[in-house]
């Protein structure tokens, strides 16, 4: 599956690099938006993990062993965009450092396994697990099929790339210059090994890891009974309601908060005494500082002192003001969320 240098013509390699480049670019942009600064460490670490699991010898039914690329589970856990980046990184390290797969063919290898593989795996998983309960066996089958389908789709693409070489690149005598087999030979030869051994290895790895994660790290595969994010939101709503109910406690506090004095507080004796008591007996100026007096009238709050003028009960006024404030913040947050979601293409 890791196509080495020399099997594909340089023009095929260039086309495959050109096909991969926009996918890498788009994936980088999307993951940067989703993960903020975390993109770098998380994708690097996951790529390293993929690299290491590619070395696992998986015992397969029938007594043989195989290696998995891990694209199925990467797509399920990370989503297709981050997965294609992580697998591309792992393939690049393999090619540059371990000589597994060529440098000129890196674009093709990344396109086949990382890009097409990630989208195939993600699509198959979503399709097969559609509407399945969290604990449903169908999800495990979906994960297995995602791995199996992805690796076979990747193999098919590689076989097509091999198969078109003799048609396009041969010398005057008809001798193929690169991979020598036509589509009629390349596709069955490639698919035989992948429909059996490599496909089985990928299915075992995807289903096995999925089952493990569902048991031990359910949030990672996004199928907790109540999604973790939703649980957090519920707690947040509860806490918010409690804080709203407690807002009338503000009435218990006497006097004005330090530094929140109004110009009129400077003019009356009670206000000046409070200022002096709260400021280590420092005597307050006789009149409000001119700047304070000038700027204090710049903006008149719609709900002065947390109580609309038509409400007589101070406690109810506090509650009403809190609800109004929270509502306003939620509305702004919702609008920003909508705007950000649209900018994200969702």
């Amino acid at each position: 599956m890791h196509i080495p240098d020399g099997y594909l013509s340089p023009s095929t390699c260039a086309v495959m690099y050109a096909a991969s480049a926009p996918c890498w670019w788009a994936a980088l942009r999307r993951t940067r938006r989703k993960l903020f600064g975390r993109t770098l460490p998380l994708l690097s670490l996951f790529a390293a993990f993929s690299f290491v699991t590619m070395m696992f010898n998986l015992p397969l039914p029938g007594g043989t062993t195989g290696h998995a690329v891990g694209v199925g589970i990467a797509a399920i856990v990370l989503g297709p965009w981050a997965s294609l980046l992580a697998i591309s990184l792992a393939l690049t390290i393999q090619a540059l450092f371990f000589g597994d797969g060529g440098i000129t063919t890196l674009g093709a290898n990344c396109f086949n396994m990382a890009i097409a593989g990630s989208f195939a795996a993600w699509g198959i998983y979503r399709l097969v697990s559609l509407g399945a309960a969290a604990e449903s066996r169908r999800r495990v089958v979906a994960a297995a099929l995602a791995g199996y389908g992805a690796i076979n789709f990747s193999a098919l693409l590689a076989a097509i790339e091999f198969g078109i070489q003799p048609m396009l690149f041969h010398d005057a005598t008809g001798a193929p210059l690169y991979a020598p087999y036509s589509l009629r030979v390349a596709i069955p030869a490639m698919m035989l090994g992948h429909l059996t051994i490599a496909g089985a290895a990928e299915a075992v790895m995807s289903a096995g890891l999925f089952s493990y994660l569902r048991r031990n790290e359910p949030a990672l595969v996004g199928i907790t009974g109540v999604p973790a994010a939703q649980q957090g939101i519920r707690t947040l709503w509860g806490a918010l309601a409690l804080v709203l109910l407690l807002t009338p406690l503000g009435i218990v506090a006497s006097g004005a908060a330090w530094g929140e004095w109004a110009p009129k507080d400077f003019a009356n004796a009670a206000g000046r005494a409070q200022m002096a008591a709260a400021s280590g007996n420092a005597v307050a100026p006789a009149a409000a500082p001119s700047g304070l007096a000038r700027l204090a009238n710049l903006w008149t709050a719609p709900l002065p002192d947390y109580a609309p003028h038509f409400v007589k009960s101070a406690a109810f006024g506090y509650l009403l003001s809190a609800m109004f404030g929270v509502g306003l913040i939620l509305a702004v947050a919702w609008a920003v969320g909508r705007w950000a979601g649209r900018a994200d293409g969702e």
């Binding site: 080495p4 060529g102 000129t104 005598t173």
Partner: protein, 269 residues
Amino acid sequence: MSANVISKTVRGFSGALGRTLVSENSAHAKGLLQALDPRVKLVGLLALVVTAALARKLPVMAALFGLGVVLALGSRLSLWSLAKRVWLVAFAFTAMIAAPALFLTPGETVYTLGGLAITAQGMRSAMLLVARVEAAVTLSTLLVLTTPWMHLLKALRTLMVPVEVIAMLAMTHRYVVLLTETANAMFESRQSRMVGRLNGHEQRRLMVNTGGVLMSKTLEMGNEVFLAMQARGFRGEVRLLTDFRLRGWDYVAMSGFAAAVVAATMAGR
């Protein structure tokens, strides 16, 4: 049987770590290619790999392979080690793939073997494939064996690879070594506690569960690494310190690479 699967995996890990060590040692040795600016070496050797891919004549591929051997000798690399780890492996793999082409490629029959016709075109195609792969693999291996990994990554900037990607490759490489060691330790400790044999199902469960634990550790480590990076001032932007400077010898090497590429391209069409 059960020990075999774990042993094979552990041997694979040891092999990977061993290759990393060999590359690091040879990259820091004194030699012809090691003395070059990594950017010149990267662009020069990649150009030669592409030239090998473009070549259509066996003597040109043989000459490029020969150039690779000369550069390896000048860089004090062990030819025996190259033969064992690179040439024989590439030959065995490619020959296995190319062999059926002897019979399957249509053309003039030059020999009949057990009732199967070997064609001239089939022979030529198989030889071209093997020669091209050997030449390309030798040249790309030289790059890895004579350049420290971090220098190689920094040199990728000359190919306009984004800084962020280079930083990710550097981190991936670092954690590949760490996670390989972690996985190795997990398998070895499991093996040391194991008596008797596991059946196929149990072996599969052992492998995927180890993978699951490794993934949990990886993601946890990813978060910790991010927090550590943040604590050191990381705000999502990456800057690379590049202190490469071209010297007289690099200009000579650049001219040499360019001459080899032009000559091979002209002769290889």
